[in-house]
Amino acid sequence: MRRVTVVLCTCCSTLLEKIDFDRLRSVFSSSPLVRRVLITDSLCEKNACENLGLKDDGRIVVAACSSRLLEAAFGKPSLVEFVNIREQCAWACGSREEATLKAIRLVKGGVQKALRVSQPPGVEGLKITREALVIGGGIAGVRCALDIADAGYRVYIVEKEPSIGGVMAQLDKTFPTLDCSICVEGPLLSEAGRNKNITIIPNAEVVEVKGRVGDFKVRVRVNPTYVDPDKCNGCGECVNVCPVYQPNKYDADLKPVKAIYCPFAQAVPLKYVINMDHCVECGLCMKACTRAAINLGDEPKNVELNVGAIVVAVGSDLFDPRLKPEYHYGEYENVITNMEFERIICASGPTGGVLLRRDGKPAKRVAFIQCVGSRESGPGIEECSYYCCAASMKEARLILEHDREARVFIFYNELRAFGKGWEDLLYRRCLEEGVVFIRSRPSEIRRIGNGSLQIVYEDTLTGRRGELEVDMVVLALGFKPSWRMVELARRLGVTVDKHGFIQEAHAKMKPLETRVRGVFVAGTCHGPRDIVESAVEGSGAAALVTSLFRRSSLRLPEAAEVSAEKCTGCGRCLSSCEYRAIVREGDKVRVLESVCNGCGACLATCPQEAITLGNWGLEQLAPQVSAMLED
């Protein structure tokens, strides 16, 4: 016959005059259900549990103050039932008699509940696979992987492009100090390539994620590159013989490369890949390859990874300027995006760093248009995209560095130079070098005669309308996550916000965690950021991962469980779960432990009562209620 130990706390004897503890002791020590009754005066002391000898008592009812203080003291093993006889009883009742009667009633209820408490809440001692997966090889992902590897844990970087580096590798210079972007990121990339704890998986994407924090099973599909990375030593013989040219996404489709190519000189891994959409399979490269590394019949491979934590650092796409027809991007050739501008002004770019128009003539008068796709209620996003004002000012200074006589105009709406060094190194310097800032959002770009462009705008500071003739217009694009991000979020089980950025668990308290425990986020994939902020978040996520790995074992809070026999797969519980932690599996349903928040909303919706959650089922609560109502 199960019995319960009742522990009463007088809260340093302050409750003695409010509650008749002797009467309590006599009522409960005579009850057959109670093993023994202990009265103590300070349960919240450091090791109250030990010196009361409660270690092996199993079921205990603790009648004392609000359980948050005691929970910490008792370490919350599940077989303890807390009853509040201080704030809700002693202090809330008028007379000692009333308080005593109420205390008896509450403890009776506690006893009934304690008798029926079963297995401990949550699962103790879960094993943790101390390996991490970083999705995305941009500055955030690489920074995060390096920090985790330095802490001594294995890291996989899954990157969808042939090389890691992300957007930062495409930039010419970075703001505010105008130091060369690839010179800053290159060493990081090669270090990541050399680090024995880091495994880079290029040309790959995450297809499926299962399991819980500490034990994720991730299926990764590696797209065929038709060149065996182990054999290829990057000699480049194949490129010389390849007859086919194709646009190179790295160079924003401006500088063609052969069908077999390496994205950029500092690529890591420095291996060649074949783009099968353009390859005519003539086989010349195979003959030229001294190490027989090329196999045109390559097939996509699936790689299974078992990791303990996942960091999403996939970055974000930029706004498609075609959604703003009035700027005629794609129709007028000298209207380009800021990414294309970075490639043109870059020494390794299509024009070797000389700012030329598409027709080869030098661009002497250049205009920047800000907030294209940001801060608007139209097709873009409603937020400010954080980086473009600084980027445009940096690019303006680059133009003037290359060509002193050039004239640069920046059409801004609210110029934002809030970062470290932005005001003096960018804005002041631009003003001194003669960049013209016009507060206006041009309504249209017109093409006149010889291919140069005319910007129709109203200078809102003077209220005068103007038409400015320029050689080239650069559109400062905001961020706009594409459908790929929403698809990845769905596979990971995390949610996205209204723009498509990944939703963090709490904007202020948990900025780098997501709804799913063990899945962290860093970089522009969860909001507009610049390079510095992305790197900071990369290190932040790495810190969270390493602190997770340092724990000896893992305790998950109570998660609901579905008993397979009772579940008929009706799916009523699916809609009741606000955290979307229940998923269909075959004709049954399954609860994702790492997502479930233990709120219990699904319990009541299940017609078969197939779902249980720790000790909050009907058979535990009903007797407690009826005990409290007996007279």
């Binding site: 027809p325 009035e326 005629h328 129709e331 017109r446 006149i448």
Partner: protein, 249 residues
Amino acid sequence: MSLALYPGCVIRTVHPEVEKAVKETLSRLGVSFQEKTEASCCAPSWFFSLSREAWLRLNERNMRIFKSTVVTACDDCFASLSDAFRVLASRNGVKPPEVKPFQALLLERLREVKPRLGFTGLRCAVQHSCRFLRPSGRGLDNPEDPKIVKSVLEMLGFLPVSYERELDCCGGFLSDENIGREMARVKAGSAEKAGADCIVATCSHCMLRLSPVSNIPVLHLAQLSAFSLGLDPVQAGFPEALLRRMVKR
């Protein structure tokens, strides 16, 4: 199912030859229609903004008269009717009758019928009417690069010509005369500079505004479609100057 025809009051009184051309074009393309003479003015927003209530009530009467799909020859009527019907439909939950501009119907029929038409070589500058293109929510044509009228002209055997001021406003509904005339003069001049033989409009107010200031004739799309479908040019209202140019081509 026959369409309701509503040519619009300007066309009925100031440009009757356009009404004739519309009717000829529709019948030659096998479109059965009934003219609804009972329908009143479409109360366009530019002067009925004085009282929104009157605009809605007048068009409520028109909605009862039309009942089925309506085709209009003037884009101003098209915009006013379709906006009013949408507001009325949402108010009393009834499905609004569809309002089709003449050029959209013409494009559909030409694509179905595919008549074999001679190539006249007449260079036409299209006056895109703002009511048809904007707000882009109407989803009929791309406001920055309109194609419907141009493709109709090509099918009819004419040569659409693009010109610099193509998307500018014709100055249509302005109450201050000289601003309106100035805008129209700039537009017509730009069309003429691009070597167009005539200006093709699909809205009666554009025609009212452009004809007095333009050296080249201003015609409605229906007049051209009627002519290429075989109607005698004089009946379609072609001025002699244009006839001489066409003979020269």
